[in-house]
Symmetry: C2
Subunit: 350 residues, 2 copies
């Protein structure tokens, strides 16, 4: 997860929301307000400041990373993945974004009574295969069953532990004016893969989720000596949420060049049909890297060696000027502000 440790400009205080709304899980302003007003106000006093996707903890003379995510995506199976592989990739990626080598996962299952055993078996097999391919081990777990109508077939919560081997300080507060911003590939594919199935959209070929483990490419960047200042995987709220979170945390501005942001044509088309902005749509196998400008070509070279980052691009730069957090330069040179998403466009996407 990523409760950004920043005073997000929350124009929507929790007091206005006597009940939790779907939008509180959407990755935008409401979710950050909830995390800030409810969770960080309680846990924050005791918890270490927690700006990473995973928390880095000092233990036994070294550093480990620890993270958790619940997965509630519907439908359970979608082109390019399923609840099980997503639950493995999501937690691996949060560890990777802290610069950690993911080693162990836990898996807790909340099953709705009546779930076909065969479905459960397929999801579990998919988790195991995803874990095997990413070289992590599922070492502990739990099973709970709730009555029919009190759940939704299956929810999986994974937690993960990784070891931080690099000495680099990867952290939003480490982002500097002048840093180059890279994105590891085309954005919005996971969200549109799921939405296309849900909305029954048909294209020439199915949009496949980008869901993938990102640790290998991140560790390669670090061992190639690329001066990495911050990493963040793109999930709920899409690229827009990531850029806003980091700009806010770093107290700097960001300028990105829309023409450089890779979005596939079928994803663009699906977004147009559904009235969505691809820059706000979730990925599950993409990340943003803030690195020293001098290392851009080396970084892109390294990223190109790994399947999930073959389409990596430099999309913009961090600026000292922060009149606006995130600005996008369009193809024709116009500029617009890319504000943190507010409502819930895509419920149950991860």
């Amino acid at each position: 997860m990523s409760p950004p440790d920043v005073t997000l400009s929350c124009p929507l205080p929790i007091e206005r929301y006597p009940q939790v709304l779907l939008a509180h899980g959407g990755g935008g302003k409401l979710m950050h307000g909830l995390i800030h007003d409810v969770f960080l106000k309680s846990f924050g006093g005791q918890a270490p400041r927690c700006p990473h996707d995973a928390t880095v903890l000092e233990v036994l003379g070294g550093r480990i990373a620890f993270t958790t995510d619940s997965f509630v995506v519907r439908p359970l199976f979608f082109p390019g993945g399923d609840l099980g592989s997503l639950a493995v990739h999501g937690t691996i990626n949060d560890l990777a974004m802290a610069g950690a080598r993911p080693l162990w996962l836990s898996a807790a299952f909340i099953i709705e009574e009546g779930l076909p055993m065969e479905t459960l078996g397929r999801i579990v097999a998919s988790m195991q295969e995803a874990a095997r391919l990413a070289n992590v081990t599922i070492v502990t777990g739990d099973t709970k069953v709730v009555e029919k109508g009190k759940g939704d077939s299956l929810f999986i919560t994974t937690a993960g532990i990784g070891v931080v081997e690099s000495d680099q300080n990867i952290h939003p507060q480490n982002v500097r004016a002048g840093d180059a911003i890279l994105v590891s590939g085309d954005v919005g594919r996971h969200g549109m893969a799921v939405m296309s199935v849900r909305e029954g959209l048909e294209f020439e070929s199915a949009i496949k989720s980008d869901s993938a483990p990102l640790a290998e490419v991140v560790l390669a960047l670090l061992s190639a000596g690329v001066d990495v200042h911050c990493l963040r995987d793109i999930t709920r709220g899409g690229l827009t949420a990531v850029l806003n979170e980091i700009a806010e945390a770093a107290e700097l501005g960001i300028l990105v060049d829309e023409a450089q942001i890779p979005v596939r044509d079928d994803v663009k088309a699906a977004c147009e049909i559904l009235g969505l902005d691809p820059l706000q749509v979730a990925c599950e196998g993409r990340f943003v890297a803030f690195i020293s400008e001098k290392d851009v070509s080396r970084a892109l070279e390294v990223m190109g060696l790994f399947a999930p980052a073959k389409g990596a691009r430099r999309i913009g730069q961090v600026r000292a000027d922060r009149d606006t957090l995130v600005t996008v330069k369009s193809g024709i040179g116009a500029r617009r502000i890319l504000d943190m998403p507010t409502g819930e466009q895509l419920p149950r996407i991860c």
Copy 2:
């Protein structure tokens, strides 16, 4: 969690159950069959053999313990606790049963749309207070929201990391014939506290859950040099499930003296009304210790110093003879077999 790493005599193969039943979450034979047939068959090849409530992992030249549990108890608030405190105690206790000092927890929330914000706030505050009292820190988390009717107000999944400081080998396979069996206090209280509220039973005073963190007393036993062979906290399936799991794993028999097993009168009365066996009812703040007979008085002395173990008793002994796994000697000298629970008596108890 505790998927006992044993070939449990599963007379109920998964093939007979095309769908998941409530009883598959009940802590008895069906749950062990599910864990064995679905989870361990997939994950087990890769996972370390996992007979503990928590898994012990070697990292950075030392040992850490790692565990997870989802919590789905209904109602959210019950005498002596709530979903939040339970989610903290349950994971702390799983770590403690591996002899670890619990340090860090994660907390993932699956919220049903419409949950009153005030309820969420109370649960979160209760988690924080339980963590503070037990000297652990909630360091990372996640929030998902599902549509009304697709969840049940709130599910919380915690995972935990602890450090194993002791060199003692705490493990079901380390149990020896002749070991004394201690229980840390009266059993069945948590389950009956929850059931009394659900069933609207009224007693002179409310039955309060025994939910409590157990790490402090376990660490004290270890540092007092008590020769601890195995520890297991009593949760779903009650004392009966624990004794059967350990007997099966250790390939030994167990004889317990019913008169020595502490059960409060109000718990007995509530069990009688509901037709339950208190020995099958969950606790959330009790554990069973298998220790060298020579250390019994020292162990009871140490346990008596800690509130959740003040009522500790020696309840039986491990026997070389294993014609039956677990035998109970009643007050009048009759013997009966204490078999692993089968169905689901108490859904949503934790």
